[in-house]
């Protein structure tokens, strides 16, 4: 008896469901939940993390991220425009900058700018926030410059031509016609960049932290140190998710709306 194609696909789907349920059951039975909970999720330790994990650690992570993103976006836009410029030295400068800051790991950049520059020049960073946020913004701007450039190039050529034929100057057309459309195109990759920045702030602690400037990851690690238990790391991880998931959902919702509007 031959099985029809549709039946075959249906059986396959059922098999996948059954296997998933078996896998879940196996995990549930094999894992020693009591041990896992005592090592990674002790409720009294969870409670201990609050409220300072939010008022201190998460606050600092958000401050670093916002400064990093704002700086990265403005400088990124500048470098993207320089990269597209008809003036050669602008293009060379932007290309060199992007290659350098995109190619060197943030950790190394942080150490070079945070310690190296002051040692070499005798100049001081005014405070730990600036010291951490500036390298973050510089690296972010290199990435964002390329994203923004791709966005600008994705706007159809006709837009610029039409704007110029209406008598707009190049810069006016760029600012009022091209860049707004480009920004809309690059919302998904920019969101990605924002999420990466949130997580990259965890590297800033190599420059030294005071009680007041600890970020989420450092807070979690210090917690492990005090309690000899992994619970603070789990809580820190959950707080990261509490920041990133609403953000990505919001952007997904905005994208859906934008798609509906442009249909």
């Amino acid at each position: 008896m031959a099985i029809s194609k549709r039946k075959k696909a249906q059986y396959r789907r059922i098999a996948v469901y059954v296997l998933s349920v078996i896998a879940l059951l196996a995990v549930a039975l094999v894992v020693d939940w009591g041990r896992l909970q005592s090592a990674m999720f002790q409720w009294d330790i969870v409670v201990e993390q609050f409220p300072s994990i939010l008022t201190n650690a998460a606050k600092n992570t958000i401050i670093f991220t916002i400064f990093g993103f704002a700086g990265g976006l403005s400088f990124g836009l500048l470098f993207a425009l320089m990269r597209l410029s008809t003036i050669r030295p602008y293009r060379w400068f932007a290309a060199t900058y992007i290659e350098i800051f995109r190619g060197i790991p943030l950790l190394v950049t942080l150490l070079i700018l945070g310690f190296g520059i002051p040692i070499a020049t005798g100049w001081h960073w005014p405070n730990p926030y600036v010291q951490g946020a500036v390298p973050l913004a510089l690296v972010a701007s290199a990435y964002m410059a390329e994203t923004i450039r791709a966005g600008i190039e994705a706007v159809p050529k006709g837009q610029m031509e039409a704007a110029r034929s209406l008598g707009m100057s190049y810069s006016r057309a760029m600012i009022t016609i091209i860049i707004p459309q480009a920004l809309r195109i690059i919302v998904p990759p920019l969101t990605n960049e924002f999420v990466l920045l949130i997580k990259d702030t965890s590297l800033i602690s190599v420059l030294g932290v005071t009680e007041g400037t600890r970020d989420l990851a450092r807070f979690g690690r210090d917690g492990v140190n005090h309690t000899a238990n992994a619970t603070p790391l789990i809580v820190a991880g959950l707080v990261y998710l509490a920041m990133t998931i609403p953000l990505t959902q919001l952007v997904a919702w905005m994208e859906r709306r934008a798609k509906a509007a442009s249909r």
Binding site: F115, P118, G208, T210, V224, N225, A228
Partner: protein, 269 residues
């Protein structure tokens, strides 16, 4: 002619390399063989044939790498002597200091050798060997500040670097409440922060500060806090009682047969 010379030269170079390899091996063999008596393995190492050691390095003069990349320093020399006593090779895993004493419990390594002070809090989650070194807290400052930053009281309003998870951090928080305390992941970052004037002083164990001061010459130890001595111990998992016994037996032997004194002299004169 040219060709033969080159050939001879490369042969000579080759034999030199072979000889020097053999030379260094046999040299380290003889020093160790003369000083330790081979023992039967009583514990099960995490990696077969190796004594895996977790350490927050570099932390001169206790754990650092020579120019030829071999691990050396006070802790590491003791560890390699212990490894050799049990016919094991020394393997070093570098990791950050905070919570390092939990690593053997997690199965990352057999033992922690990282200038680790024995404290009650740490002993609740790790098994410690007998103490093998007495240490004190101290203050490292830039040479220009040596007469002004030399008491706990003088730290008021100043920025003090400490390493995360260390007894130095606890000491600073307890005894210098008016200082701005900045915590760092490793000793190297603290020294950079002192050089770059991000901090005014580094509060940590005396031997490390003293070694740095002599090595660099730009900073000095302005005070050694003589109030409380701390004992360094090697940490293992609490389940690994045989390894603790083996380490303690080795340390006891090294103290009587001159190995300990030899290593001490090498680093602290």
């Amino acid at each position: 002619m040219a060709r033969t010379t080159r050939l001879l030269a490369s042969l000579a170079a080759l034999s030199f390399i072979v000889a020097s390899c053999g030379g260094s091996d046999s040299a380290s063999d003889t020093t160790a063989a003369a000083s330790t008596t081979a023992q039967e393995l009583t514990f099960t190492p995490v990696a077969e044939g190796k004594l895996t050691v977790c350490s927050d390095a570099p932390y001169e003069p206790f754990e650092f790498q020579n120019e030829d990349k071999t691990w050396t320093g006070f802790d590491m020399d003791l560890m390699s002597a212990i490894a050799q006593r049990y016919g094991l090779a020394l393997e070093v895993t570098v990791q950050p200091f905070d919570g390092i004493w939990l690593a053997p419990k997690a199965g990352t390594c057999d033992v922690v050798a990282s200038s680790l002070t024995i404290t009650e809090e740490r002993a609740a989650n790790a098994a410690f060997s007998d103490g093998y070194f007495d240490s004190f807290q101290s203050l490292l400052v830039r040479t220009a500040d040596k007469d002004t930053l030399n008491t706990l009281a003088s730290l008021s309003g100043k920025t003090v670097a400490v390493q995360t998870g260390t007894t130095g951090e606890e000491y600073a928080k307890a005894n210098a409440p008016d200082a701005k305390i900045q915590s760092f992941d490793d000793a190297a970052a603290m020294f950079l922060a002192l050089e770059s004037k991000q901090v005014d002083a580094v509060l940590q164990d005396f031997p490390i500060n003293a070694f740095r001061a002599t090595k660099m010459g730009t900073s000095v130890v302005s005070i050694k806090f003589d109030t409380e001595s701390e004992k360094y111990g090697f940490a293992t998992s609490q389940d690994n009682t045989e390894l603790v016994k083996a380490i303690n037996a080795s340390l006891a032997e090294f103290r009587t047969n001159g190995v300990y004194d030899g290593i001490y002299k090498k680093y602290f004169g």
